[in-house]
Amino acid sequence: MADLLDALRLYVRLVRARLRAQLQYRTSFVLDVIGTFLISFLDFIAILIIFANVPQLGSWSASEVALLYGIATLAFALTDLVVGHLDGFPQTIRDGTFDLVLVRPRSTLFQVMTADFQIRRLGRISQAIVVLAYAIATLRIDWTIERAVVLVGAVVAGTAIFISIWVAVICIAFWTVEGREAANAFTYGGVTLAEYPIEIYDRWLRRFLAYVVPVAFVAYFPALFILGKPDPLGFPTWISFTSPAVAAAVAFVALGVWGWAVRHYQSAGG
């Protein structure tokens, strides 16, 4: 517990240091935030245009899909804020800076995750919140404590699921320097799939999203409960409450993959 607190405090210190470094260039910082916000907002406009023409997606209305989209995008935006810089991780392996991580008295994953913090990525979070607010305002949700908890839980668990997927796939970099594209297929691909109801996908893809790379648990299953919709695919109602457990399981797997990859580096790398 004391260790966890100590790690958290160090994390805050590292983040503050990153912020100070980024704020040295105020104009570039402001432009960055605006740019990210605009790009994310264009994504949203694209969705609105689709829905103006296709008001129904499977058994989902436009506002219902906006709820899915909002939850998935918010979880992904938080993920991106925390671990977005892992995009550059293959470079750390290539130029040998990972060696420096191994000679410091902290967990390797902690050091890699805290190596940077791009505050401009806040732009994407604000966009996700706008969409989520729009969905909640236009849907007539019968709010209960359970539903509110499932909503918050979905964002938290969803963030954990995305972070875990990100960590697991970035491990490709320990084997090949060209792993970035493959990793992006899972990370950016995963969030795109989570933004729509999985019932519109082909059967094998649905199974993949439920059992293998479980992004269906980020937004789809929790949203069913929040909206009081029975699952058209026949999954039981309780599945909506399992997102945190699924997140814990995925995190466990990701830690295992990371540890295995670091051991591989130590026996073969350099």
Binding site: L102, P105, G269
Partner: protein, 328 residues
């Protein structure tokens, strides 16, 4: 009690030639290396590129697992006890930046203090001492990316020492530095060794680093230790010939000087080889000055690569890491 123990250590890498489908070959980077280092020693670890130097240091610091053999550093097994070991060693790789590139130097120190959990009073005391010895004050608040190489290296040294390590591993600490900066780094290491009992293991190409600092020298070539002993003994055995380079006022035929022989002439410049044991540089210079008007002179010390080559005998051609076995 040795602070570093290395017994029959080997490190093999599997490499593929010609892409994923190429043949696999086993490369033996370190081959049956054994040595002990006593606390408070400054050891120079040298050898040509690709000889196994950095691989050895990476195994000692917990970056790489040995293929076989036993390693103990400060009584710990490096990769298995990586985190406890990291608290007790300092590491500085000359070409890799440990400091935060876009932060003022002092902020990097502050972050390292929390990463290493250095007690406040130790941190204050160490920082005060290093600021003085390494003269950090003029650039303490400058972002690291704006520092000169010499300033950055001084910062890196401080960063590696803030947590009171028992052993300091240095990889090419003076590479690219000017004479004054080199001198400052060396003085720092000598004083840390004397005052703190710091054990230092440094890999370098610079024979002068070794001469000024080390009480002991280890030479590795083709993955094997080929020399383990003190510097003077090494020079007496293998590196006895030095070269006096003289620039004369006027071009002249090869000079006839006692104790030396001219091995090359290029216009007014002449290269005169002489034996360390038989003639001193001062004697030889006086000899030359009595024969011709001198403008400038310099002494070339035997290069460490030459010394290593001589240890093996000149017949052996220089080559990369040894390949001893291959498997399909």
């Amino acid at each position: 009690m040795a602070v570093i123990e290395v017994e029959h250590v080997r490190k093999e890498f599997t490499v593929r030639r010609g892409g994923v489908l190429g043949q696999r070959a086993t490369l033996r980077a370190v081959d049956d290396v054994s040595f002990d280092i006593a606390p408070g020693t400054i050891v120079g670890y040298i050898g040509p590129n690709g000889a196994g130097k950095s691989t050895t240091v990476k195994m000692l610091t917990g970056i790489l697992v040995p293929t076989s053999g036993r390693i103990r550093v400060a009584g710990l097994e490096p990769t298995r006890q990586r985190i406890p070991l990291a608290r007790r060693i300092g590491v500085m790789f000359g070409q890799r930046v440990q400091l935060w590139w876009d932060l003022p130097l002092i902020e990097s120190f502050d972050l390292l203090r929390y990463i290493y959990r250095v007690p406040a009073e130790r941190y204050e005391a160490n920082l005060r001492a290093f600021r003085e010895i390494l003269e950090l004050d003029p650039f303490l608040r400058t972002p690291v990316r704006q520092l000169s190489l010499g300033q950055r290296i001084r910062g890196e040294l401080t960063a590696a020492m803030l947590h009171d390590p028992e052993i300091l591993f240095l990889d090419e600490p003076t590479i690219g530095l000017d004479v004054i900066a080199k001198q400052r780094v060396r003085e720092f290491l000598v004083s840390a060794n004397r005052e703190r009992g710091l054990t230092v293991m440094l890999t370098t190409h610079d024979l002068a680093d070794i001469e000024r600092l080390s009480s002991r020298i280890l030479i590795i070539d083709h993955g094997r230790i080929v020399y383990d002993g003190d510097v003077e003994a090494l020079k007496e055995r293998y590196g006895t010939e030095r070269i006096l380079v003289v620039d004369l006022v006027e071009p002249a035929p090869p000079l006839e000087v006692e104790g030396g022989r001219v091995i090359r002439v290029d216009g007014p410049r002449q290269w005169i080889a002489f034996e360390r044991a038989r003639t001193s540089a001062a004697q030889l210079t006086a000899e030359v000055a009595s024969k011709a008007a001198l403008r400038d002179l310099a002494i070339d010390e035997p290069d460490i690569e030459d010394v290593v080559r001589r240890i093996y005998g000149d017949a052996r051609p220089a080559m990369g890491p040894t390949e001893r076995s291959s498997t399909a």
